[in-house]
């Protein structure tokens, strides 16, 4: 320890004036001052969960707005009823080996029926395609077949089930169409141009056809059992094992007198242009003929045959639109109402509180229902939903603003402003309101997930009907899927995951905002 005695006698020349001849001023700040919002932003940035949530929200919003833009082939109104409820299938991924098939158990007859689609696709040029050719066909719906499993059914009869792996798009197989002659010519021209086979021979309507409307029964069947018939007319049952051993399916095509297969049949209509032809098409290629591209749906198709990705993007847009509108309107009404209540107090406060009490007492579901019944025919479903949200939605924001005003209105800075002659409006908006802005922004941000949830719930219950040809909502997608989704899981999984993710992220985002704006958390962070 230094002893003060050492400094008892310091020579005079050692002393010098500090900053002699210079003006003494305050030092300039090296860095910029940190304001309220910047401070909040710094704290928000430190909250990793909120940042991640914000990034995910931005991704979902980008998806919702960019997915329709990138899909230049068709818009959200595009639908194909034959490819409804189909699982995800992407051509780009298909070429990489991701086939998007689903597992399915087949009975023997069902297996032959599905296999026959691929065999039939190769069978057209008047030679009997074998199973091997069928399996190698591009149009073979069954991608893999497992070993048959023998089990006993309810009647203690042995039955064999084959676990299969199937492409549900190709499984649609053949369909009958009725087209005009000109269209028929166009299809023929398309076939020549692209080399894709669309038209297939028609099927004879005889005793070997169990269902004349099913274009997939192109082979001979007796009592739903595939058969072969030799020259003497003997009926021989055909089993899957026979197919494996190389016995071809016997076709049942419609033939003319010379024995050539018929590709079309005149069904009516007078002139050459309006003559109606019945044709049998391989639907996969017919789809390409109609639309110019192969079916490729990244999220699959919904229960009606729309592209689920575009419908979902539209639904997210709708949810976000409703949520942002509601929170913006709530913000304005709540701020005005709450600040008036809080600032003036007394009788005004009491009256306005009673009014908001009464409004808060009305169950929201009743408000939504009544607005839908009364208004949706006049102004549409979405505006009447907005009205319903706004009617009672602002009450929470207003009461928060009111509390903040009670907190600040008697503080010194307000008194100072008043003493300096500021009028009420200036005190409210310039002095008190900015102080309560953090709380309000938080509550407005937390309105968004609750609106998204309520909107999906109302449309799920069918109280608000938002499903149209152009747009749908998450709730409608889910309620369309509700009865059938155990067979088509993607119908439920995709919208459910999306809305859960949106809800989680918006809640995390709101919580992050609350922590950032709440100064009482300063210093507690660790």
């Amino acid at each position: 320890m230094t002893n003060n005695n050492e400094y008892k006698s310091i020579p005079q020349e050692k002393f010098a004036f500090v900053n002699e001849g210079e003006r003494l001023t305050d030092k300039q700040f090296d860095d910029k001052p940190i304001g309220y919002f910047k401070d909040a932003w710094i704290r928000f940035r430190k909250n990793k969960a909120s940042v991640v949530a914000t990034v995910i929200i931005i991704c979902i919003i980008l998806f919702a707005f960019l997915a329709p833009l990138f899909n230049t082939r068709y818009d959200s109104r595009f639908m194909d009823t034959y490819y409804a409820k189909k699982g995800p299938r992407s051509i780009a991924l298909y070429n990489l080996g991701v086939d998007g098939g689903v597992e399915r158990d087949y009975s023997e007859k069902g297996l032959i029926m599905s296999l026959a689609v691929g065999i039939g696709a190769e069978d057209w040029d008047d030679h009997d395609a074998t199973l091997q050719e069928g399996l190698e066909s591009k149009y073979q719906p069954i991608l893999e077949i497992g070993e048959g499993i023998v089990s006993l059914d309810a009647l203690k009869k042995e039955k064999v089930t084959y676990p299969g792996y199937v492409d549900t798009y190709l499984d649609v197989g053949f369909l009958y169409r009725s087209v005009e002659q000109a269209e028929y010519q166009r299809i023929v021209a398309f076939e020549e141009e692209t080399g894709l086979k669309v038209l297939y021979p028609l099927i004879e309507n005889n005793e070997y056809t169990p269902d004349p409307n099913n274009a997939n029964y192109w082979y001979k069947m007796v009592k739903n059992q595939p058969v072969t018939i030799d020259e003497t007319g003997d009926v021989d049952k055909l089993y899957y094992e026979d197919l494996v051993n190389g016995v071809p399916l016997e076709d049942n095509y419609k033939r003319d007198a010379e024995g050539n297969v018929k590709y079309y049949e005149y069904t009516g209509g007078g002139t050459a242009e309006t003559a109606q032809y019945k044709i049998r098409v391989l639907y996969y290629n017919y789809y390409i003929y109609q639309n110019g591209f192969e079916p490729s749906y990244l999220f699959g198709t919904d229960s009606q045959g729309y592209d689920l990705m575009l419908r979902l993007a539209g639904a997210i847009q709708l949810s976000l639109f409703v949520a942002v509108c509601v929170s913006a309107i709530n913000f304005v009404i709540g701020a005005l109402y709450g600040s008036t209540e809080g600032y003036y107090g007394g009788a005004i406060d009491l009256t306005m509180e009673r009014i908001s009490d009464i409004l808060a007492g009305v169950p929201f579901i009743v408000v939504a229902t009544l607005f839908q019944i009364h208004l949706s025919a006049k102004v549409g479903a979405i505006p009447s939903l907005l009205f319903a949200f706004v009617l009672t939605g602002w009450i929470g924001t207003a009461s928060r603003v009111r509390t903040q005003f009670y907190r600040f209105k008697n503080q010194e800075f307000v008194m100072a402003a008043r003493t300096l002659g500021a009028n009420d409006r200036r005190i409210i908006w310039k002095h008190i309101f900015p102080n309560s802005l953090g709380t309000i922004i938080t509550s407005v941000a937390l309105v968004i997930p609750s609106v998204i949830f309520t909107e999906s719930m109302l449309s799920y219950l069918g109280i608000v009907k938002l499903g149209t040809a152009a747009q749908t909502s998450v709730g409608t997608l889910l309620s369309d899927a509700s009865g059938i989704w155990t067979n088509y899981p993607h119908l439920m999984i995709v919208p459910a995951i999306t809305i859960s993710l949106l809800m989680i992220c918006f809640n995390l985002f709101g919580n992050g905002l609350r922590d950032a704006f709440n100064p009482s958390l300063r210093g507690v962070e660790d």
Partner: protein, 319 residues
């Protein structure tokens, strides 16, 4: 205290009256649908005439109020259950709703409070962050997603609870048979997730606050162990806001969850509400509106009042 209770009750009656009046007007001016059956049409039209449905709106409202106060008659169901008093239709639907929601409360309360306490005691450890993360997830995910998950994993994949009760007689003639309760397990689980998460978050917040208060320091200083101090002092004080919330949710169980009732086909109040809208059964719709409003207001009052009963230090009605 008594003055405050009376004041709240009067206010509640007033609010209920205003809401009822507005809703009555809005519902009565809706166009009414008639069945296609000509004979039934005549019958219904004659009944409506006799019941004064063709009078001016205010007269109708007078008749409606008079019937409620003199005969407890809230109108008649015309489509859901032909010519049954609306009140009877509603009361027959309350029990299923209450049973399912009560079941989920019985599951949610112990689990929610226990996990909440656990998270608060282990604050700032990985257990706490794990529970808090799960709470955020479980609160955010919509209830119908849980319903789908329960249906998929318990019913479809594991084949655990595939009980369908077709009618009351099918379940053994009572609401309290084993088969009936068995069939309720699915919706109870689906409802519980959100409630557990909500309760857990609330308990954690309250208990962390009480655990850091001065009286806890005193308790530890005077020689209590951490467990003793937590149970005797912190938990008791933390319960002050938690209990009213639980009491409030016991009132709210009567209104139930519409979406869960729809997904699991529970013949409850929520399903009745949706049916009344779809079938244009407006007397039922009106009664349902009154019922929901009443339950909502009552829940608020009971929650507020129970603060005073649980903690006498809280004086009700003071500003």
């Amino acid at each position: 205290m008594a003055k405050y209770v009376v004041k709240r009750l009067v206010l509640m009656v007033f609010t209920l009256f205003v809401i009822t009046t507005i809703c009555f007007m809005l519902i009565r001016i809706l166009p009414r649908e008639l069945p296609t059956d000509k004979v039934l049409q005549q019958v219904i039209l004659a009944r409506w005439e006799a019941l004064g449905y063709n009078e001016p709106l205010l007269t109708q409202y007078g008749i409606y109020l008079k019937n409620i106060f003199t005969e407890l008659d809230f109108g008649t169901s015309w489509y859901i259950s032909f010519r049954t008093p609306a009140l009877e239709v509603l009361t027959s639907k309350i029990l299923p709703t209450v049973m399912v929601n009560l079941g989920s409360l019985f599951v949610a309360i112990p689990i929610g409070i226990l996990t909440g306490c656990f998270a608060a005691i282990k604050k700032n450890t990985w257990i706490d962050s794990f529970i808090s993360t799960m709470v955020i997830v479980f609160i955010s995910v919509p209830s119908y997603v849980y319903a789908f998950l329960v249906q998929y994993f318990l019913y479809f994949k594991l084949d655990l609870i595939p009980v369908t009760v077709y009618s009351l007689a099918d379940a053994g003639g009572s609401w309290f048979t084993w088969k009936m309760i068995h069939s309720m397990i699915g919706p109870i689980i689906a409802l519980s997730f959100g409630e557990i998460a909500g309760l857990c978050r609330f308990t954690r917040a309250e208990l962390t606050e009480t655990l850091t208060s001065d009286y806890m320091l005193l308790a530890r200083t005077k020689g209590l162990t951490r467990a003793q101090a937590t149970i005797r002092h912190a938990l008791k004080n933390a319960m002050v806001p938690i209990l009213p919330m639980i009491i409030g949710s016991f009132i709210a169980i009567m209104s139930g969850s519409m979406i869960i009732e729809k997904i699991f086909a529970i013949p409850g109040v929520g399903q009745l509400y949706i049916m009344s809208i779809n079938l244009f059964d407006y007397d039922i719709f009106m009664l349902d509106t009154i019922f929901y409003t009443f339950i909502g207001l009552l829940g608020g009052i009971v929650t507020d009042l129970s603060y005073g009963f649980i903690d006498p230090r809280i004086r009700m009605g003071e500003r």
